[in-house]
Symmetry: C2
Subunit: 601 residues, 2 copies
């Protein structure tokens, strides 16, 4: 049985020692509410909810949702837990006060989502998708739409979905076929089939609000002819009460590898009444609001997989006895030494730990940027918004793809630590692999993220965000190069940053000669970037830990372990960046030269 325990000490370390959220909160609206006491109270309460209410439903939820004649029953306990979630006001925590939220910083909501998602990702998808729908309506909806739809979503009384994918297209949304025809009454009638709709149907709330991509009758072909619509499950009366059933229904739910507790629905729109949101034909642009939130949200799944599988593997490694240490028996009074004496078991555990903690640091940094971006939006500061959007946009594909790939790796280590027992369902370790697999696929596969990073953010962006990030790291390097204890980290970081920079220039040059070079280099480019960026955050954590040790306050053992984990990362994970650098610089030739018909004989 896996039981989640929120890593509050590590969370506090990041928001206090590393990122100084209190100082940061002075600069954003709503930040004044986020006093240290308030933050502590929220973290403690979110931890309690995650540990006591939804973590116990993690393994039982694997039994999955049931589908019967258009209705979906979620696993036992999901509904009750959701009731507690709504009662606690969790859904609106970081939502605007004017639409029923508490207006707390977005970054606090991210930490809450991390705890919930780590404890039980499948459960967390119901409120998680809803946050995406809320964001989209908040950013692009009319005032009336916000009052009618956003308020109940914020309260958690309703949930929302995002309906993008169709049978013939997922990544390539230009192929979307669903039609929206004006009904002459200010609304539209939507007809088409959407697949892979998470939370498309369930029994947690009475109402579900679908955000749907569809084409108007006069729409141009491709991505420039797609508009965004709000389609409620039940029509909503003027007074906000629910009216009759809208013809949008769940045709079936998918049999999947994992996240069985989350319903993945085929949604049929049979002339369902909907409302345009945002400008005509600009649906994809509006959708990016959701997409970026969702991608950062998905990165949490990687971090959560690393954290949960580490928490599952550690007690087993401590208790299970097998063989003797090669450097001499450690527990002579026992039948054998514990797994903890074996360096290779420690390698797996420390890899999980380094991914969870390093990923968490990357995520909280991104959350801080998101706070500032939203603050700029609130101020109506378009330039400020765009600047933070660029910074965040550069990190988003790395967070999404790199952290989910690594989280998946960590989940595999968790199973390996258990040996054959890891393969048995009862222990819950294999479930983490099955659940995490999807993180590498949805909201854009790893390959799509890699192309977004190298093709769009780096090359199309003319290296602007890349250079800004580099400058930030270089500033850190300059600032710390004379701090004796930081020297080993700074020396390595400098070297890897240099290789990354030169590699980026060389890839850019090669891509200017051969466009296939972009796709050929993209995966290795993304992975290299991820390792170097994570190295920068591990260096920052080491630095904060050294300060903590020096101050003599707090838990010195915690700080010392943080430094040692940073050493592990630099020794045994960062060098992977080198192989990626080497592979990414190869010409596209060895990928492209084989004719399609010669792949198999």
């Amino acid at each position: 049985m896996i039981q989640y325990k929120a890593p509050l000490k590590d969370i506090q370390f990041l928001i206090r020692d590393v990122f100084n959220f209190q100082e940061h909160y002075q600069h954003i609206p709503g930040g004044e509410e986020a006093t240290p006491d308030m933050v502590d109270a929220i973290l403690t309460e979110a931890a309690r909810f995650s540990e006591k209410v939804i973590s116990p439903l993690y393994q039982s939820g694997d039994e999955g949702c049931r589908f019967n004649d258009g209705e979906v029953t979620t696993p036992k306990g999901f509904r009750e837990a959701y009731g507690q979630y709504v009662e606690g006001g969790w859904q609106g925590m970081s939502a605007p006060v004017e639409y029923g939220g508490q207006g707390l910083p977005l970054s606090l909501g991210v930490i809450k989502s991390e705890m919930i998602g780590t404890a039980n990702w499948a459960w967390g998808m119901y409120p998680g998708l809803s946050l995406g729908a809320m964001n989209t309506i908040y950013m692009h909806g009319t005032e009336e739409q916000k009052q009618r739809f956003l308020v109940p979503l914020t309260e958690g009384r309703w949930t929302g979905t995002m309906c993008l994918t169709e049978p013939q297209c997922g990544t390539d949304l230009g192929q979307v076929k669903t039609k929206a025809i004006p009904d002459g009454d200010g609304g539209y009638r939507l007809t088409g089939t959407k697949i892979f709709i998470s939370s498309g149907e369930h029994d947690l709330t009475e109402q579900i609000i679908h955000i749907v991509l569809a084409r108007l009758p006069d729409a141009p072909a491709g991505t420039r002819g797609i508009s965004l619509f709000i389609v409620p499950k039940y029509n909503v009366n003027e007074d906000g009460s629910l009216g009759d059933r809208n013809p949008v229904s769940c045709g079936s739910i998918e049999e999947k590898m994992g996240i069985h507790g989350s319903s993945t629905c085929v949604m049929n729109f049979d002339g369902a009444r909907g409302f345009l949101i945002g400008p005509e034909h600009k649906g994809l642009m509006c959708m990016f609001t959701f997409m970026n939130t969702a991608r950062i949200g998905t990165s949490i799944q990687g971090i959560g997989a690393a954290e949960l599988s580490f928490q599952g593997a550690l007690p087993y490694a401590r208790e299970r006895r097998s063989m003797r240490s090669l450097s001499g028996t450690k527990h002579p009074d026992k039948v054998a030494d514990s797994l903890m004496v074996h360096p290779d078991v420690r390698r797996m555990l420390l890899t999980q730990k380094a991914i969870a903690e390093g990923g968490r640091a990357m995520l909280y940094h991104a959350a801080r940027l998101a706070d500032r971006m939203m603050a700029a939006h609130t101020r109506g500061d378009t330039r400020g918004y765009d600047a933070y959007d660029d910074k965040l946009g550069f990190l988003t594909p790395v967070l999404k793809a790199f952290l989910t790939e690594l989280g998946y790796e960590a989940a595999n280590h968790g199973v390996q630590v258990y040996g054959g027992h890891g393969f048995i369902k009862e222990w819950g370790m294999e479930q983490i692999i099955r659940d995490t697999q999807i993180a590498k696929l949805y909201e854009g596969t790893t390959g799509v993220q890699a192309l977004d990073l190298l093709g769009r953010k780096i090359l199309l962006g003319k290296l602007k965000s890349f250079n800004e990030f580099r400058q930030e790291v270089n500033q850190f390097i300059r600032h710390h190069k004379n701090r004796a204890e930081m020297k080993p980290f700074i020396k390595q970081l400098k070297r890897y940053m240099l290789r990354w920079r030169i590699g980026t220039f060389r890839v850019a040059y090669k891509a200017s000669k051969d466009r296939d070079m972009v796709g050929a280099a993209s995966y290795d480019y993304l992975m290299q970037s991820g390792y170097v960026i994570m190295g920068y955050f591990w260096a920052q954590m080491a630095d904060a830990a050294f300060s903590g040790i020096k101050s003599g306050e707090g838990d010195v053992d915690f700080y010392k372990t943080k430094v040692k984990t940073a050493e592990f990362y630099f020794d045994r994970m960062l060098p992977r960046a080198k192989a990626h650098n080497k592979m990414m610089l190869k010409d596209a030739r060895s990928l492209m030269q084989i004719d399609e018909e010669h792949f198999a004989f």
Copy 2:
């Protein structure tokens, strides 16, 4: 729906062009039977059986075995397929003629197992485990035991199991508790519980023969006090007919992540009658016969996963249309280009292909060594046997761990090519991941194999097998260094071999100062070794392909593609060895310095 197609062209390329099995067969008993015509006929028929009989049961078999009151029902169709297998005489193909087999070379049996295991691994485990039991009885049983038990196993009328693991121990078999007490009648009574017993109970055959590790009453503690026993499900009468039921029974079957069609049983021995096999207290040594077979057998699962997921992904990549090629539209008449135009999709497909074909070459090379080892055994040539045993023993952990890790990676690429659809059960791609996960765990985890390679085979063996292998590769390098078309491969291979050699010496030196260095370096050492060894086999395949092109005979496109795939491997996979080399040379400190109680706070 995944439909397996046996890669006969690739198989023939290896046994003819690369390894010249016909020449090799001149040197082994039974080899004279393996004429080209006979080999062709066997391959064709094994392909047919795999493609037509058991491949269609692959996805349906995922529904799993049913357990009811001690009895196990295998998935629909398994029993009928097994009947056909027995009828075809497949089980005894490479078994000695004097015990009912056909006496064909072991290597041919390996190729047959590869086809069967790729088409349907879970099904293949029933006859597969049986081969292990047959081998053990053949190598260590008395003549009477062979007549009584080996013959029906060879005919396939009965199946066998290997009962090693107990709840408290898997890797550390010194902890085995099952007791065997002499019954005064030449037999023993066994009492204890074994877990994770594949094929421990099923409905394919009337009789099951368990090979069981247990302790005699006077046995010394630890690994030196373990003996090996034959325990039949039904007692066997003098005339070979089945007598009454022996008190060995299946208590339950495990709920697992994958290989649902294979029954994984808890076996309870309640004073079950058994027979000692091999010398008292030497059971573990006897078991190694099985273990080495099983480990090489498990490597097939890695190769099979790569092959099957490649076969599953390729048609999807050809048919699915998404986005346009960055180097210009390739299919202007279609709604979008096919996935095949995207370099990153090709990277995944070619990685699968390079693993499947490279792994196959490594396997067939090992099978050739096994042929020679068995030939020495038949001749009573102990020195010859030991020499081949050493060669094979050096490669075995690499085959087992490296190929299953890579096969698992390939299965993941297969899912990635499908995007979100890869997560859906219907397509069958996620099943390959779930089925292959166990390959990294059973018969010794990757970590255990890594320790076996570096600790036992390299360091304890004083680098003997390592140096022999190196000499073989160096001879290849010398022989080909002036062949113009081979230059790029030879140059790289030389460089990686040198780095491997120096790395080995450095690790050996460091390990002499710090024993924890062995475990600390072992995983990266194994992976590096795997990539370099596979590089050597890719170079051999390129060489054979160049000869094929030059000869102008055969399928020139096949040969050219082989060279291009070798180029892919050298460009985009071999460089990973470099990162492993770097990480393996780090001191054990960053792994060992964190106190056990400081892993979590």
